[in-house]
């Protein structure tokens, strides 16, 4: 084959250029520690990376949401615990004063004051806030849900938060549900219509908790309201109406049952949140592995490739020396 000088030079130039451009790519990879520096480096992979990145941002937000919801529910739980203590104490008083054997007008007058205190404490507990939000107010979170008379001024709005992709959980317990055995029958009941499209974003897992709550309360019977019962007890004590005092006993039991079942509901929600947080953390780890697999450069590989490339480059330079130098003219002296 006829080899012209241009062919020779071309080969030399070409091999050096190629080697250099490969080295530049490797250099870019070492500098950024990433093998994906432009979408064209791996178009499909880069779409995946973007998707996972959005996932990550969302998951971080979901985790934050979950933490907030958990704090909110914890606080609600504490408030309910206080309320159940109040009901328990009221029940004790009612038992103590229900029979004429132990109850005298003097003792009744004495404990009536305590019941009044319990009533005030119950209102204060029902109006508990986190920051400037009333936890039992439903959607009416910036005004006290219970007035001085013990009437409920909030609504039954469920504040749903997204704690996982399209997984929603209610972060509040509307007071109306906790303070009444039959909230629908309560005079203060304010119904909030569900989301307009008719699809309630409630979480599936919540259904058992709700069933539990409804099992805990007697199916029949009249609604018992915590504040009204405390008032009734106080009136009974003040007027010495032992029947009325006895009458409250049963309803205090119902109320206690209701508070306990509501706390169970909160417990199951918190459990749900924690399960979700754990799942999300696992998800984040898997995602991190996935993106790392797509976009991170394998440093050992890159460094050894670079070393190899250097050898190639040097040897092509060295061979060029022999290729370029001699022509026939060098020997015609």
């Amino acid at each position: 084959m006829r080899v012209s000088d241009n062919t020779n030079m071309g080969v030399v130039r070409d091999s050096i250029q190629r080697s250099r451009s490969r080295m530049e790519n490797l250099q870019m990879e070492t500098a950024t520690m990433k093998k994906l520096n432009k979408p064209s480096d791996d178009p499909v992979g880069s779409a995946k990376v973007l998707e996972v990145r959005t996932d990550k941002v969302n998951n971080d937000q979901f985790q934050m949401n979950a933490k907030l919801a958990e704090a909110f529910l914890d606080n609600t739980d504490h408030a309910l615990e206080d309320l159940s203590n109040i009901v328990m104490r009221a029940k004790e008083i009612a038992i103590g004063q229900a029979s004429s054997a132990s109850s005298t007008p003097e003792t009744r007058l004495g404990v009536a004051e305590e019941v009044n205190q319990l009533f005030q404490r119950a209102i204060a507990t029902a109006n508990r806030r986190i920051g400037d939000r009333y936890i039992f107010g439903g959607y009416k979170s910036s005004t006290p849900p219970v007035d001085a008379d013990g009437s409920f001024r909030g609504d039954d709005g469920q504040m749903m938060v997204e704690i996982g992709r399209e997984v929603y959980i209610g972060m509040n317990i509307p007071g109306i549900e906790a303070f009444n055995t039959h909230p629908e029958a309560s005079a203060d009941y304010q119904r909030i219509e569900k989301t307009p499209d008719g699809k309630s974003p409630e979480k599936e897992e919540e259904q058992p908790a709700r069933r539990l709550a409804s099992e805990g309360t007697p199916v029949s019977g009249q609604n018992a309201n915590l504040f009204q019962e405390l008032k009734a007890l106080r009136v009974g004590l003040l007027t010495g109406d032992l029947d009325a005092i006895r009458g409250t006993l049963d309803r205090f039991d119902q109320l206690l049952g209701k508070v306990v079942s509501t706390r169970a509901k909160i417990g199951s929600r918190i459990q749900g949140i924690q399960g979700n947080v754990n799942a999300m953390e696992r998800h984040n780890i898997t995602n991190a592995q996935l993106t790392s697999g797509i976009e991170d450069a394998d440093m050992t590989q890159v460094v050894s490739d670079l070393a190899k490339e250097e050898t190639v480059f040097k040897s092509s330079l060295a061979s060029s020396k022999h290729l370029i130098q001699p022509t026939l003219l060098d020997f015609l002296r």
Partner: protein, 462 residues
Amino acid sequence: MTTAKAGIATAGHNISNANTEGYSRQRVTSESQVAQQMAGQGGPYVGEGSKIGRIERINDQYLEKQLREGGRDLAYHEEKQVFLNQTEDVFNEMNGDGLNRLVATFFNDFRKLSNDPTSEAIRQSVRESSQAMVNDFRRIRSEMEQIRSHVDNRIDGYMKELNTQAKELSELNVKIRTAEIAGNEANDLRDRRDQIVKKMSTYVDLSTHTDNNGMVNVDIKGVGPLVTGPNTEKYFVGREAAVPEEGSVANSLQIARSEFSHNYVTSQFRGGKIGALIETRDKEISKVLNRLDELAFSVSRSVNEIHQKGFTADGKTGVNFFKPIASPTDAAQMLSLSDDIRGSVSNIAVALQPGAPGDNRNALALANLQNLHLMNHGKTTLDDFYNSIVSDVGVSSARNKEDLGQQQSINTQLSKVRDQVSGVSIDEETTNLMQFQHAFDASARVIKTADEMLDTILSLKR
């Protein structure tokens, strides 16, 4: 002796042009002179020595054509790559702060707001992140527009060069014709002409043929003649209204046969640098922009739709979040926050009923848009749609890079083959030089011998 001298001159010419691009080596073909009869009738025929036949160009027209086509395809891919790279840079997603992240933040801020609907600070941050998203839509849009105007400038420049070269080619046609009618071999002019045709075909797909007079005629494939013998056809460029069916937008550069014609031939230009530019402008860039507009339109429409249903902190309803946009055309450019939102963050509608500050349902519905299949007739989410734009840009660029690499290898190979045939080898020329030198020496010796013989004869008389 003359033959030998011509040989030496040609070898010198070859050597000095060893590095001239597109030079084809030349060779002297010597012929023996027709023998003449000596000493009258019946005498023997004796050779009369050699004469210069012609100086020919060692050149394979078929190879030249392949090389020309290779050069055209290489130029096409190179030109395209320049702009695809720029497009990729506009979507600087890989370092993590492109529109993708801003859209995610936008939706997440609504989630934050759903946690704490009354917080003024979070409302502010929703507005900020929306503004950031809007700005990035506009940034991408305007950077893409900029790339498009660069493309237009280049088309303009290349068309001018093409016209100039067409002129030069027609002049060369005439020169070569004149020289060859006089019986000379216009080897170097022919090299130059090949070179110009090669350069011209890097601009656009051309077809060439040589006519009976040895003139090269060049047609732009699918458009019409460019050079016919000594004549050239001039093409004009001008800014014109949109040609939507070809994907070009208003005010972009169009190519016409004559200055005042509205019959554009722009889309018929294929291949080469100009073809690449037109394709990049009217296909790639337009596609990206259209999809971006579509995305911006969907975001603004769907967010507004839900936002209008909600109630603001002051109990107003029917408030727009973005300024309403009528159609997807230029939506990415027109996307902006509504005056209500700009005016006060309490106009963000979080609730689904008035007077319920804790009602977060509308914020949830807005955040949920991220998961809804709003694009592609209900098949893709907003996120996926955007990601697919980025990935498509990547695919185009990756494919072109690959084609470019292949074409480079092909061209290197073709050049090698061409150099095998037409390239100058210094070694070879040196040997030729020596060969002709020896021939020259020998011829000189013949003359010297004849001279001595004459001397001998003349000395007989003394």
